[in-house]
Symmetry: C2
Subunit: 343 residues, 2 copies
DNA sequence: CTGAAAGCGCTTACAG
DNA sequence: CTGAAAGCGCTTACAG
C-alpha cells in the first residue's frame, strides 16, 4: 500500500485550471472564437476550429460550466431529491429521468433528503441557490416555507410519486388512497374478510393505509389489524410484524404490506411458522421489485411505472425549461395490481 | 385533476430572481454588507444585521451560490459517482458520505454512471466542468483520458470500493481478490470440495471470482463450476444460475454468489428443488444487505463497511479541500465474512 | 463596522 | 467568419 504517495504540501489546486483566455492566446484567436469552436463549431471556419482543437487538447482545457451557466442563466443541471438511495423503489424513476434528460442536454444530480423532513428547507435553499434548470421532488411539498421558496424561484418543478390538487408547478404521481382501496377490494373479492395492514412510516404509506382502512369500513368488514413501523422498511420488520399481527388477531387471512421487502419478511415468517400462503394467509406487497416475481410463492404486489414517471418528468422539465407550452402539467400515472401466487 | 393550472405562456423564469444588489438597496447598505450579514453575521452590527434580515426575508432572497462559488473558487459541492442507484450496495456509503460532508459544510450530489463505461469520459467532463470541491468515484478509474482529466483538474479525488497501487489521488477500498480467496478458504475449511461460482459482470465481481478460482487451484481443488452473468444481478439470475450450475455439475456442494440478491435466488431455487442448505449445498453471498440476516436459512455473506468507507472518504475530501495535510491517503478497509446458517 | 473597486470565467449582444 | 466590450451575481482584497 503506497501510503506515502501524498504530495508534501497538499493544496486544493496546485495550479489553477486552464482558462478560455489561455486557450485563446495559444490558438491566437479571441476568447469568443474559442467559445464558439467548442459550443457552435459550425459557426467557425475549419482552419480556426482545428487550431482551437489543438490548443484545447494539448492544454487539457475543460470549460468551466459554472461560469458559462452564470452568464447564460442556464445550468443544464436538473436536481432530483429522493428520500433515500438505499431502497430500490426510486432507482427506476431516477434512471429514466436521467436517460430522458441526458438526451435533451441536461445532467441529473441526485440529492438525498431522508424520510425525516427536518433539514428539508435547508437543503432546498442549497439546491435553489445553485439555480438548476429544474427540480424533481419525491412526494408533494408541504412546508409552506419550502413551497414559497420553490414558487418564488421560478425554476420548473415536478412533484412525483404522490398526488395533490394544488401542485407547486407540475406533477407526475398517483393517488395512494385509491391504491389502498383497490388492494382491499382485491382481497375481499378473493374471499378474505380478516384483513391486516403492515406499514412503514412514510407519508405515502400512510395514505395507502388510510385508503385500505376506509375501503374495509365501506365494505362492512371488521376493522383491519394494524401494525405501523418506520421507513425505510426491512425484511426483519416484515418477520416481526407478522408475529405481532398474529399475536393481536390470530385469525387474520390477508396482509397488505407497504413494501415488497416487508412482504418478503412476511413470507419468510409464514413459512417458518408453517402458515400456508396463500392458503391460510394472502400477502400483498408494494413496489414490484426484482424478487417479487421469482420468490416462492411469487408475490402479488402493486406496480408503479417508475420508468414512465421518470420519462414524463423529464419531458415536462425539458419543455418548460425550453420555454415550450406545457399543456398537461399534472399527470396521474396510476398503478396496477400484479396478481401472482401470494394473493 | 387540475390540468389547466399551467400559465398561459410558460417561461423558465417569469421574473428574474432577487439579487444581492436589490436586497442591498432595500436595506440601504452596500452589497458586501449584505453578503457579510448572511455569511459572517458577527462581522456586522446588530442593527444592520436586522435590517438586512428583514429585507432578505421580505424579498425571498436566496443567494446565488453559483456566482459566489465562481468568485471564491469553492463550490461546497462534492460529487459522488455510482454505477447504479438501483442496488442497495452503494446507498450505505453515500449516506455516510453525505452525513460526513454535510457536517463540514459540503453538499453531496450523486451522478449515475451505469456499469457500462461508454459515456464515462463525457460524464466526467460535465462533472469536472462544474468544479466541485471533491469527487468520489466508485471503483478505480482506468480510462487514460479520464485519469488525465481528473489529475489535471486538481480536484481532490477519492476512489472507492476497489484497490490499486496507483490511485489518481486518494483511495478507500478493498482487495476483491483477497476477498474471493478468503471465501474459498472458508468453504474448504467447512469440508466443501466441489465449488461453484455465480457472478455478475462488473469488474469487482470479476476480481472476486479470480481470487476465488486462484485459491481453489492453490488448494488443489477441482476447477470451480462457473456461471457468469451481468450486473446488476437479480433474484431471477440466482434461480436460473443455480439451475445452470447443477446442469453442468450436479455434485457441487458450495456456491459463492457475487451479490446477496443472487444468493437469495439460489436459496429459493434450492428450496424449490428440495436441496438442503447448508446440508447438501453451502451458499455465500456478498453485501450483507437487509434480508441476509433474517431470511431462512440466514445467509452467510461478506460485509463491506460502507459507513466507514463513506466516513473515511468524507474526511479525506474535507481535509484536502481545506488544505490540511492528508497523512494516509490510501486506506484498505478490508471485509469480513459474516458466518450464518447457509455456510 | 462598513464600503468602492476589481475580478472569478465565461456568454450575450452588437458590430463589422 | 471574427472580435471588443459589457455583464452574469457574487466575494476578495484593500482601505478607512
Amino acid at each position: 500500500m503506497d501510503a506515502e504517495s501524498t504530495s508534501p504540501a497538499p493544496t486544493a489546486r496546485d495550479r489553477p485550471a486552464v482558462t478560455l483566455r489561455e486557450v485563446a492566446e495559444r490558438a491566437r484567436v479571441s476568447m469568443i472564437t474559442v467559445s464558439r469552436a467548442i459550443n457552435a463549431p459550425h459557426q467557425v471556419s475549419e482552419a480556426t476550429r482545428a487550431r482551437v482543437q489543438e490548443a484545447v487538447s494539448s492544454m487539457g482545457y475543460v470549460p468551466n460550466l459554472v461560469a458559462g451557466g452564470l452568464r447564460s442563466a442556464r445550468s443544464h443541471v436538473v436536481t432530483a431529491l429522493v428520500p433515500t438511495l438505499t431502497g430500490p423503489l426510486f432507482g427506476e424513476m431516477v434512471q429514466a429521468l436521467t436517460d430522458g434528460l441526458e438526451l435533451r442536454g441536461f445532467q441529473v444530480m441526485v440529492g438525498q433528503v431522508g424520510y425525516a423532513h427536518s433539514r428539508e428547507d435547508e437543503l432546498l435553499r442549497a439546491i435553489v441557490g445553485r439555480r438548476p434548470d429544474g427540480i424533481v421532488i419525491t412526494g408533494v411539498m408541504h412546508s409552506p416555507e419550502g413551497r414559497r421558496m420553490l414558487t418564488a424561484s421560478g425554476i420548473p418543478i415536478v412533484e412525483t410519486w404522490d398526488f395533490t390538487d394544488t401542485p407547486i408547478d407540475m406533477l407526475v404521481g398517483l393517488r395512494h388512497e385509491e391504491l389502498g382501496a383497490a388492494v382491499c377490494e382485491h382481497l375481499v373479492a378473493q374471499g378474505r374478510r380478516h384483513l391486516a395492514l403492515l406499514s412503514g412510516g412514510d407519508e405515502r404509506a400512510a395514505r395507502r393505509a388510510r385508503g385500505f382502512q376506509a375501503a374495509a369500513a365501506r365494505l362492512g368488514l371488521r376493522e383491519p389489524a394494524v401494525r405501523l413501523g418506520k421507513s425505510p422498511t426491512t425484511h426483519a420488520d416484515g418477520r416481526d410484524g407478522l408475529g405481532a399481527l398474529l399475536a393481536d388477531a390470530s385469525d387474520i387471512d390477508a396482509v397488505f404490506c407497504s413494501s415488497d421487502m416487508l412482504a418478503l419478511g412476511v413470507l419468510t415468517e409464514a413459512r417458518v411458522r408453517g402458515i400456508a400462503v396463500p392458503g391460510r394467509l394472502a400477502v400483498v406487497g408494494f413496489g414490484d421489485i426484482d424478487f417479487a416475481q421469482t420468490v416462492s410463492p411469487s408475490l402479488t404486489t402493486v406496480r408503479i411505472d417508475g420508468t414512465r414517471m421518470g420519462q414524463t418528468a423529464a419531458q415536462l422539465i425539458a419543455d418548460r425549461a425550453n420555454g415550450k407550452a406545457v399543456t398537461n402539467p399534472v399527470v396521474d400515472i396510476g398503478f396496477s395490481i400484479v396478481e401472482r401466487e401470494s394473493a
